[in-house]
Subunit: 238 residues, 2 copies
DNA sequence: TGAGGTCTAAACCTTTAGATTAATAAACGG
DNA sequence: CCGTTTATTAATCTAAAGGTTTAGACCTCA
């Protein structure tokens, strides 16, 4: 499924622009077209149109303003990524808000540039992502990592939380809890573990005491918030 | 709480080295000490000792080999970060495994370098992180982002899952569900929303039907896995 | 061998959860 | 304006969950 995609000289890089500000649209198009290696093949003033254009033309690069009304640019990036085309999206915005950068990268953006940046950087970004690289200017990269680490700080504080009550569970109790986190009833747990329903209740009660909760919902929430599922490798640790 | 930390000329950058390989330890110390602006004030051959040394000397930079036996380097990085000192950790390893890079950054590493890299890069990395920057060489940065985006791909596929059943909930039902995700009982919900317990049960039943689940645990799991909490801004969207 | 922990199970009881049905009021379309 | 839908409210009844106590079988470690 992997398609090699180096810059083929002679063929221009096909670009689609999406920006709700018409003046910006024209300006950027002008700028990009000046670069002989690039060609803006279509423009859109909202995200929905942009997505349709991408489906139709399958461009090399999409420059997506992520501050658009209605369907926002971030969602649009995600939808384009999920098309699994060979299209790279570069997020374009006026703000260097860390959360925005983080979410854009999360959605699959291959680059992120500010409208206030020098125009040469835009061309450079296009060339970089065309080579399969990620383009994040140094300043934005720092913001991204700051935000990234801040986001995971609480989690790791919780996950290795002084006293993680999950550690006191026995193997059997972990097995029961794992089934509880899947929404299985006592009867279901009993059948899957080949024990009686009353035994399940005993285990569950012990779990409640150890986790200091009163019911299964709270137990499940505790388990999820304290890395139980991660440990079980049911889901990638985030 | 923010302390400005620029390079103060005249004062050497205090560095602690942690590497279980004694030869590497000597080599890196030699290398770092050659840089007149740097000084290795202590070395450790395992993570536990390293952490104690950090507590004692509060160095500017820790070069941490993350492939050590017993307590692994990644956990050590996390523990050092949680000390909230002004110490920056640079991960040091022989492998450019994306997962390793991702986890190191998650734990709070400010830089990541390979032992195979040119020695000059090590010095450069130290200087960069001392300026508050993140040091990730281009190649490793790409690996990081690839991994980052791959990790979040599934999640966003779920989150904006064609048909997110959460969208069919009424406002009242959302209020009820929000309380359910906190492990509140029917009685508790009734008191908080000033309605009768039986009314709560009706809402809950409607929620079950709309989310196509059979009990509150499954409803809560559905809500969590489909971005309900994120939307409610109770928790940072990851 | 005896103390302690785990896993199993049962009886008995209280509380909560879940299913069904239905009344009221607001919103909407023709 | 009236029938239709939808949201919200509510009562009743059954099933499931949860609390408590007791106890036997098994294993381990001192």
């Amino acid at each position: 499924m992997y398609m090699k995609r180096t810059m083929e000289y002679g063929k221009k890089i096909k670009i689609i622009l999406a920006d709700d500000n018409f003046d910006h649209l024209l300006g950027i198009r002008e700028l990009v077209n000046m670069e002989t290696n690039c060609e803006v093949i279509a423009t859109a003033t909202n995200a929905s149109i942009a997505i349709n254009l991408v489906k139709k033309y399958q461009p090399d690069v999409v420059l997506m303003d992520i501050n658009m009304p209605e369907k926002d640019g971030l969602t649009a990036i995600n939808e384009i990524e999920r098309l699994n085309l060979n299209t790279r999206v570069i997020a374009l915005t006026g703000y260097d808000d860390p959360d925005l950068i983080f979410r854009a990268m999360k959605m699959g953006a291959k680059g992120y540039i500010l409208k206030t940046m020098a125009s040469a950087q835009l061309i450079y970004a296009i060339e970089e992502v065309m080579q399969g690289k990620i383009y994040l200017p140094s300043g934005l990269s720092s913001k991204f990592f700051e935000y990234f680490q801040k986001t995971f700080k609480e989690e790791s504080n919780n996950a290795s939380n002084e006293e993680n009550l999950l550690q006191y569970l026995t193997q059997r109790e972990e097995e029961v809890l794992e089934l509880l986190t899947q929404g299985v009833t006592y009867k279901g747990v009993a059948q899957q573990l080949f024990i009686s329903e009353t035994t399940v209740k005993t285990h569950v009660n012990n779990i409640f005491q150890k986790l200091q909760v009163n019911d299964r919902t709270q137990a499940v929430l505790y388990a999820i918030n304290n890395g139980f599922l991660n440990r079980k490798k049911l889901k990638m640790a985030i």
